[in-house]
Amino acid sequence: MTSTTQEKSAGSFSKIWNAYGMLLIFAVIFVCSCLFIPNFATVVNMKGLGLAISMSGIVACGMLFCLAAGEIDLSVASVIACAGVVTAVVINMTQSVSVGILAGLGLGIAVGLINGFVIAKLKINSLITTLATMQIARGLGYIISDGKAVGITKEEFFELGYQDIFGVPLPIVFTIICIAIFGFLLSKTTYGRNTLAIGGNQEASRLAGINVDRTKLIIFVVSGFVSALAGVILAARMTSGQPMTSVGFELVAISACVLGGVSLNGGVAKISFIIAGVLILGTIENAMNLLNISPFAQYVVRGLILLIAVIFDKYKQKFIKS
């Protein structure tokens, strides 16, 4: 019957839209920017754009799993700053780049462990827990650095931020690897499926034999780890550990996830969502910079985009239902 085939094609359209709709919107924005914004479609600008979104790309990977499990991690920005400072201080102290990096990453894992333990084992709300560790990590960064940027003396470390592989800067390579790994984890492993199940219905997941506490612990440790990784890379790019960097960056990561279509209620997430979210946010910011829009106005624009995206998402779901 024609009506059923129509319904079927409508169903598959909404499926495709759900998975790739935001990527499509990114493509439109990107093409428009190329056509209408001077200096947008240049190699230099593309590299700059790539570097700008590499940070949010990495951090959003960890955040994706938190949101998918119905939790949230507000401590990521502080971990970025603190891990950068720790890396800088340890490199200067030991004159060893690798020890410094390990120390920075270790800091991220430690914060993640604390978050995970308090949230999973002690059953404290993740919003409150990570709000607390966010301030603790920020404060530790200031204490360790004495409130000032810590210049790094070993120049090999800076290669992490500037080295190219076939013309692609290392931070972008790291981001691509991260997204590939997390995409695989989310859709092809029990870890990812269990994360989604917990976000969908935590009690039912527990009664289905999923070790909810352990899964949540891992989610927060991983989120701490990737944030620290972003922090180390940022320190390399800035040639110093800066305790005041990335304030409010957790909101960028959450915005990117939500913009892409990750549900804050948990249970609904795809890696394509954060790719789209990160690319859209990054491209618009880049375009605004090229157009010389004031930073104050940029805040307004970013907020509006997020608001429109979530309203659009809600409306779309209603439209499909009726």
Binding site: G11, R193, I210
Partner: protein, 500 residues
């Protein structure tokens, strides 16, 4: 001739891919209880949602009190005097009786709640329903039956003329059901139009004046004279065939003791429980709400921590500290509340089936084996007769019976020894019920030890080899199948046993 107050006129509702209702027409009169029956997926819930303004019908009209209309939202339905008492009650447990009753219509002056008027208004309706509850009591301190009464009071306080009940007795105790029925009878005598949706035959015959049967979204027939029809007529009308004995019980050989529990108690399980279930035996666990049946199953399954006692499986003492440990040793539980504890609503049917058993089929313990997943989900879907367009469908889009079958499929993907079923057929239609009973017996033939918890007396007696009765966290008796009668079981469940 009496004029119908509420009329459904050729009402249809389609969703993408599904026709939930097709040209349904029937009439309800003032001062009559009109029962709505049909299997799960027959369209009863859709019909109620159209009546309450949650759904807009694709075609057709309602007429209320002679006016043709369609409710575009729930507010319009409320204004027209429609109130629905849902299975899942819309209450705020932290708030008081009075606040819940007047929710959305709190009497106030300039935004400040007028407490005296609030209490007075509430008391009026509590008195009307003969409820001995203080308006100041927080709802969380009351029972589900009392919550329901508050919902009815709320409906009355809003001047409802049409009151629809959706499976109102599914979690009530026997005295609460009596209370509900007397209230419904009063409302009928006052000339309200009552719609009553239920799966329980005895209730339907006791309470209703007319019965309309739906099947697969279509109107089948309306029975106006109930004295002329029997249980069997109704079942035949609902399923289109005569089911006869829906249990198909046959005696089977039982083996050695499979599950043995000694002096078990838990944090939420107050008593001290000892019981044995043999391989191939079905143990029925009957008790009224609050008897501690679900709590007992949860402790055996490791979902609630045990405080004392031992669990033995095939003669060996085992440790069960989490559902994961229970499942790994072959003990599984189908929980009572499918929506809260059973399904993962955001996941597909296939995902819901594979979620547990996949752990023994993964590559390197954590990489999904897609081929096995697909094969297993398809196999369970066929074996359990889960009605779904595909295993890729989200499980929330299935009817309750099919969700339950999917969850059973989840456990049949495992190598299980003990199956714990908590209200396995609650809110499920006759056809799916019969399939689940058949499955229980098939699994018993395969030497599983099975415990079935149920508040449905005929069901407990129909499926069990032995019936254990509980009351306020104590075992009050064990009855063999041959000796079991409804009276005996109910007596053990209700009456205070006097110390001799």
């Amino acid at each position: 001739m009496q004029v119908p107050y509420l009329e459904f006129d050729n009402v249809s509702k389609s969703f993408p891919g599904v026709k939930a209702l097709q040209n349904v027409s029937f009439k309800c009169y003032e001062g009559k209880v009109h029962a709505l029956m049909g299997e799960n997926g027959a369209g009863k819930s859709t019909l109620l949602k159209i009546l309450s303004g949650n759904y807009l019908p694709t075609e057709g009209k309602l007429s209320v009190g002679g006016r043709q209309l369609v409710f575009r939202n729930t507010k319009e339905a409320l204004l027209a005097g429609v109130a629905i008492i849902y299975q899942e009650l819309n209450i705020v447990p932290e708030m008081t009786v009075a606040e819940n009753l007047c929710l959305g219509q709190l009497p106030h002056s300039f935004g400040i709640v007028n407490k005296a008027e609030l209490i007075e208004r509430t008391q009026k309706y509590l008195d009307k329903l003969d409820l001995n509850i203080s308006p100041d009591t927080p709802l969380k301190e009351l029972s589900i039956g009392q919550w329901q009464m508050i919902e009815i009071a709320k409906a009355l306080s809003r001047g409802a003329k049409i009151i629809a009940f959706d499976e109102p007795t599914s979690s009530l105790s026997a005295p609460e059901i009596e209370k509900l029925f007397s209230v419904i009878n009063e409302l009928r005598d006052e000339g309200k139009v009552i719609l009553y949706v239920s799966h329980r035959m005895e209730e339907i015959f006791r309470i209703s004046d007319e019965i309309t049967v739906l099947k697969d979204g279509q109107f089948v027939e309306t029975f106006s004279d109930l004295s002329k029809i029997t249980n069997d007529d109704l079942v035949r009308s609902m399923v289109g065939r005569n089911l006869g004995d829906i249990y198909h019980y046959r005696p089977r050989e039982v083996g050695d003791t499979r599950l043995k529990i000694t002096h078990l108690s838990g944090q939420k399980l107050k008593g001290d429980f000892s019981l044995t279930v043999r391989a191939g035996e079905v143990l029925g666990l009957f008790g009224l709400v609050g008897a501690g049946r679900s709590e007992l199953l949860k402790v055996i399954f490791g979902a609630d921590p045990s405080v004392s006692g031992t669990i033995e499986l095939d003669g060996k003492t085992i440790s069960v500290r989490s559902p994961k440990e229970a499942i790994e040793q072959g003990i599984v539980l189908c929980p009572e509340d499918r929506k809260k504890e059973g399904i993962i609503p955001t996941a597909t049917v296939g995902e819901n089936i594979n979620i547990s058993a996949r752990r023994s089929h993964n590559f390197l313990k954590f990489i999904i084996n897609e081929k096995w997943e697909k094969k297993n989900a398809e196999q369970q879907r066929q074996q359990m007769n889960v009605k779904t367009p595909s295993i890729q469908q989200l499980i929330v889009n299935l009817s309750g019976g099919n969700q339950q079958k999917a969850i059973l499929g989840r456990w049949l993907s495992e190598d299980i020894k003990v199956l714990l079923l908590d209200e396995p057929t609650r809110g499920i239609d006759v056809g799916a019920k019969s399939e689940i009973y058949d499955l229980i017996f098939k699994l018993a033939d395969q030497k599983l030890a099975i415990i079935v918890v149920s508040s449905d007396l005929p069901e407990v007696i129909g499926v069990s080899d032995r019936i254990m009765v509980m009351r306020s966290h104590q075992i009050t008796g064990v009855i063999e199948r041959a000796d079991a009668t409804e009276e005996k079981v109910l007596k053990l469940a209700m009456v205070e046993s006097k110390a001799a």
